[in-house]
Amino acid sequence: MPAFGEQTSAAEVLRPHAEDAFAAELAALAARDDRPRPARWKLSPWAVATYLLGGTLPDGTVITPKYVGPRRLVEVAVTTLATDRALLLLGVPGTAKTWVSEHLAAAVSGDSTLLVQGTAGTPEEAIRYGWNYAQLLAHGPSRDALVPSPVMRAMTEGTTVRVEELTRIPADVQDTLITILSEKTLPIPELGQEVQAVRGFNLIATANDRDRGVNDLSSALRRRFNTVVLPLPASAEAEVDIVTRRVDQIGRSLDLPSAPDGTDEIRRVVTVFRELRDGLTSDGRTKVKSPSGTLSTAEAISVVTGGLALSAHFGDGVLRPGDVAAGVLGAVVRDPGTDRVVWQEYLETVVRERDGWQDFYRACREVSA
């Protein structure tokens, strides 16, 4: 919504929208794009895929990759939008769901700002429409008194709307999407009217499927979506990279000392998380049980940050096994009944035998006891 944004220049905002940050790339793609575009799309599906996955245009313009992951997923996502099916991006925290949805909207519609943030308190008005009560009282119900939601605006304008954290929205509110997605229309019973979606309208939702306290999608709603699951980082190296970078950023904002010596510990935390998550040791030789927690990259980041704070304030400033052991235990053992056994088994059968992990083993034994 440009009303307030116009007062500040793009350079000053803390975080520019995708379509502003990569305006040059989008323009270059649009200029070279000679393939057919679906109605009201700013780019053809091929160009959208290129925008996300990166590449070099014939004129030498380099398109930076926005998403590093399987090409297949991006192709399915773009194709889904092109077939006017709604797209549901699933994944545990830290798998770039929001990032992908923002860039998809920016590339397809040139506008990523039509956004409904899902929370436990998201009301129906956020998806359908609200009323301007001053207008309503003064002039009675009319289209002028209607405050359209982002979804409604996207329907009238034929653009892409995003719904973040769909599963956090209460189930009854979620289900208002069913009519919109299947009939492509939004009735306004108060006025005896309806808003019909024009071509080009589509919806991208993101959801976290392995978290506690979420409202599962009803099967009726689920049927309206094509689902793409965004995977966790494919390699341990990639994940260590992500964790190190994020820990560094968070650490700076919390004025924690940066810990270059802690890379070993970060690698260890990432390894533990990956092994328990995958149910397989990193050498691929031993299977292990998986605990009930998600053990996402985001959690690894918070464990390391916590350990860093612990070592800075109560330790010698170097990230040591003892600083992260408690955090790892807390992340792994979510359900004290079953997860504790899983954790101990992992400690005894995998950690104890591993070279150079003795300190970590002892620290974990200490906090587990």
């Binding site: 192709e75 793409v228 299977k287 035998e353």
Partner: protein
């Protein structure tokens, strides 16, 4: 019967429409197991109507061709060639319904046209194989057809390496595709038949292959070595094929059709003199070979199988071949049906959306038609909520498929029988219908061989010998009851699908059994049998699966059940000199998991479950004891950790009484617990605060179950006193509850022990308290010790023990029994 007529009609729209003159030789270059190739072959045959069909394959199988028309013959099947004197040396030519070669053979049979195999006889190729084995060179001798994926002659475990590179990959790269399989599918397999000239695709392909061979051969000459040797074999094969084609052309004026791997087409086209070809095929090594048809499965056609024909999706190909039209829509409907059967909600709307998505994806990826990749992506996104779990099912059941071939009973005998006969002769073990017992001493070479054979046959379901309890207790003896029933021959024939020798078949069977075994105990039992049958190659996968299953099994009971068998196997392995390092490792890991899970698993059990758990504790205790002796690197302190677990068990109130009592007893027996401490624990349990039923269970655990607990009570009057005092203190209403349990406990004691206990108790607590003192003794015994008579025994005892006279001889008097 095979859906051949339906699709054939497309090509027969204009027989001879291509204007082929009769008497011409047409070369149909194919990709083995390519459904598009198969369709094209049939269309071409319908159009040309040749007088004879020549197929790339071993000519020894010519006599078997009529069997292909048999009613009981259902593909997938394979032609099996094996050396007569060495059944382990064999080669397979798998044929699926959608294989061009199969289609060609069937076409010939349906149209009463002779069909012949024209490849180099297996008698030479198998001889080559032997030479290769001899040179330790495991490159497959006739891994020929680059264009056809891998040649089917692979032996288990040795994937044919693409020594000269993949011509398909080169062609695909030239066309700008990164995936050669996909390129081939787009260009050849997904073409619909019956459009225009039936021979056009073959002509185009031949041109491409010619160009490819020219560059490839130019390159190949410079490198020589192994590559040159393999090239030479290809040249020999092609020379043989040329000779055969030439002979057929003379014989059949009506025209000759040749179906062979696309790679060979340029070579067959090339003019070469008969003399030169003859020279090439002259003087080749020979070995006596027999051929037969064997049933095959889709799973084995796929790359995952040991005899993989190198196609990843036989089910998908079969579908492409059989589907009349709209293959994607039909496929998605099939997938929906499968998912529905598995109770997933999949509506026709899902199918519609998946078809749309697959179609659009194909456009986005620039493919003419959605392939397996696109349909799989669509199924995942639309029908499976993005999850790979149901997708794995689709892959297993449909993409690969469960299809199993059948072979008519008239097919020649399988080589397994021949191998068995040979072994029987060597071990002088005749199959006799009369039952007899056989005593084997495993230290003797022949007897060990017999034992191995019998165990292997048992694994294969050929129950010739039945192991019976040996009269000797030594682990080096085995007793078998032998009886050869006539139907066992049938069993041997059935087992022929597993391999060509008893050893390889038993190995393959054991591996498959391990994958499909239901529970952990089943796999450990299998490991035991693998050791007995001496199948070292099977043991490794079985162990891997065992370790995986153990890691994921959350039921400690299963783990505890599996452990004893495994430890027993370890000991067998030791006796037979097998390398049991991996086994010990797995066993130690298993024990470790039991230790971690046992205390938690003992909480909140009812009486039956507690009794079962006590059995597990006993079994694990024995196993850990045995395991302690075995070499377990890095795990030497298993015993002490187990005792720590026992201590936890003995002290935890939520653990049922019988398990607690048993834990205390085991610790006591191992001298880990001082008798006073045991008495203290017993006193705690038998104190009035404990419900009588729980206390009785504790006693049952402590002394019951044939553990020789009676003697313990007899000799430690402190313990007996505690029991006695507790029992007399049990209130009258609770007494009837604990009575059955106590009866069970005490009735398990030996009669003598029971009588002595009764006498001890009968004398009352005061008298008993003075048993060791000067009080009245047991009837028939003096009240005190007659030291003089006791001393008289000492010289003999000293002699037995070989001990010097000690200064204080009375040491011995104090010693317990």
């Amino acid at each position: 019967m095979t859906g051949t007529d339906r699709t054939g009609s497309g090509g027969s729209g204009g027989p001879g429409g291509a204007g082929e003159p009769g008497g011409r030789t047409i070369l149909l270059g194919v990709r083995h197991h390519g459904p598009g190739s198969a369709r094209a072959v049939r269309a071409a045959l319908d159009a040309v109507r040749p007088g004879i069909v020549l197929v790339e394959g071993p000519p020894e199988a010519d006599a078997l061709i009529p069997l292909a028309a048999d009613e009981d013959m259902r593909p997938p099947v394979a032609l099996l060639a094996h050396a007569v004197d060495e059944p382990g040396r064999s080669a397979f030519w798998p044929l699926a319904e959608f294989s061009p070669e199969w289609v060609a053979v069937r076409w010939a049979l349906e149209h009463d046209v002779p069909a012949r195999f024209i490849d180099l006889p297996a008698t030479h190729t198998l001889a080559w194989q032997a030479a290769d084995d001899h040179d330790e060179d495991h490159a497959d001798g006739h891994a020929g057809d680059r264009a056809g994926g891998r040649e089917p002659g692979d032996r288990p475990g040795t994937a044919a390496p693409d020594v000269r590179g993949d011509p398909l990959a080169a062609l695909a790269a030239a066309a700008g595709h990164d995936d050669p399989e996909r390129w081939w599918e787009d260009v050849i397999e997904h073409r619909s038949p019956g459009e225009g000239d039936a021979l056009a695709p073959f002509t185009a392909l031949e041109e491409a292959m010619t160009a490819l061979r020219e560059t490839g051969e130019g390159k190949g000459e410079g490198e020589g070595g192994e590559r040159g040797a393999l090239d030479a074999r290809d040249l020999v094969r092609e020379a043989h094929m040329r000779l055969q084609v030439r002979a057929a052309r003379r014989e059949f004026a009506q025209g000759v059709a040749v179906v062979c791997g696309a790679w060979h087409v340029p070579a067959l086209r090339r003019p070469a003199t008969v003399a030169a070809d003859r020279a090439l095929v002259k003087g080749l090594p020979r070995t006596k070979v027999e051929m037969t048809w064997v049933p095959w499965t889709h799973r084995r056609l796929s790359r995952a199988g040991g005899y993989g024909a190198g196609i990843e999706s036989p089910g998908w190909y079969a579908h492409l071949f059989a589907a009349a039209d709209r293959p994607v829509e039909r496929w998605l409907t099939k997938v929906a049906g499968l998912l529905r059967d598995e109770d997933r909600i999949v509506s026709p709307a899902h199918v519609i959306e998946a078809a749309r998505l697959a179609g659009t994806l194909a456009v986005l990826r620039g493919r003419p038609l959605p392939g397996l990749g696109e349909t799989t992506d669509a199924v995942r996104a639309v029908m499976c909520d993005g999850s790979d779990v149901p997708l794995a099912l689709v892959h297993d059941r449909l993409v690969v498929g469960d299809v199993m071939g059948e072979v008519p009973p008239g097919a020649p005998a399988v080589p397994l029988q021949r191998d068995l006969t040979r072994i029987q002769r060597r071990l002088r073990l005749k199959p006799e219908p009369a039952q007899r017992e056989l005593e084997l001493d495993l230290r003797k070479e022949t007897d060990a061989g017999r034992s191995r054979l019998l165990h292997r046959l048992r694994l294969l379901g050929v129950g010739w010998g039945e192991p019976v309890a040996s009269r000797s207790t030594g682990t080096f003896r085995e007793t078998w009851r032998l009886r050869w029933e006539p139907e066992l021959s049938v069993r041997v024939a059935e087992a022929g699908v597993w391999g060509t020798t008893v050893l390889s078949a038993a190995t393959a069977r054991a591996e498959t059994d391990a994958v499909t075994a239901r529970d952990l105990a089943g796999i450990t039992a299998l490991a035991e049998r693998c050791l007995l049958a001496e199948l070292p190659d099977a043991l490794a996968p079985v162990m891997r699966i065992l370790a995986d299953r153990a890691a994921l099994d959350t039921d400690v009971g299963h783990l505890a059940q599996a452990l004893p068998a495994l430890v027993r196997s370890l000991r067998y392995g030791d006796v037979r000199g097998t390398d049991t390092g991996a086994l010990a490792e797995v066993a130690a890991g298993l024990a470790e998991r039991v230790f971690v899970g046992l205390p938690a698993a003992c909480a909140a059990l009812d009486a039956d479950a507690a009794e079962e758990m006590r059995g597990h504790v006993d079994a694990v205790h024995t196993a850990v004891g045995l395991l302690g002796d075995a070499r377990t690197p890095g795990r030497g302190d298993l015993g002490s950790r187990w005792r720590a677990v026992l201590r936890v068990l003995s002290a935890r109130a939520t653990v049922p009484g019988t398990v607690r009592g048993r834990a205390v007893r085991l610790l006591l027996d191992d001298d880990e617990l001082a008798p006073e401490e045991a008495a203290r624990l017993m006193g705690l349990v038998l104190s009035p605060g404990t419900p009588p039923a729980d206390a009785a269970a504790w006693i049952e655990g402590f002394v019951g179950g044939g553990s020789g607990g009676g003697m313990l009570l007899l000799h430690d009057d402190r313990l007996l006193g505690l029991v006695d005092a507790w029992l007399t203190g049990v209130p009258a209403d609770a007494f009837t509850d604990v009575l059955p349990l106590l009866r069970r406990t005490f009735s398990a004691f030996e009669p003598g022990v029971r009588r002595s206990l009764g006498e001890l108790v009968g004398r009352g607590p005061e008298a008993r308290g003075s048993v060791t003192g000067a009080g009245s003794g047991i009837p028939g015994f003096a009240t005190g010790l007659d030291t003089e008579r006791a001393d008289a025994v000492l010289p003999v005892v000293r002699l037995l023990l070989g001990r010097d006279p000690a200064p204080d001889d009375n040491d011995l008097v104090g010693a317990d029994t």
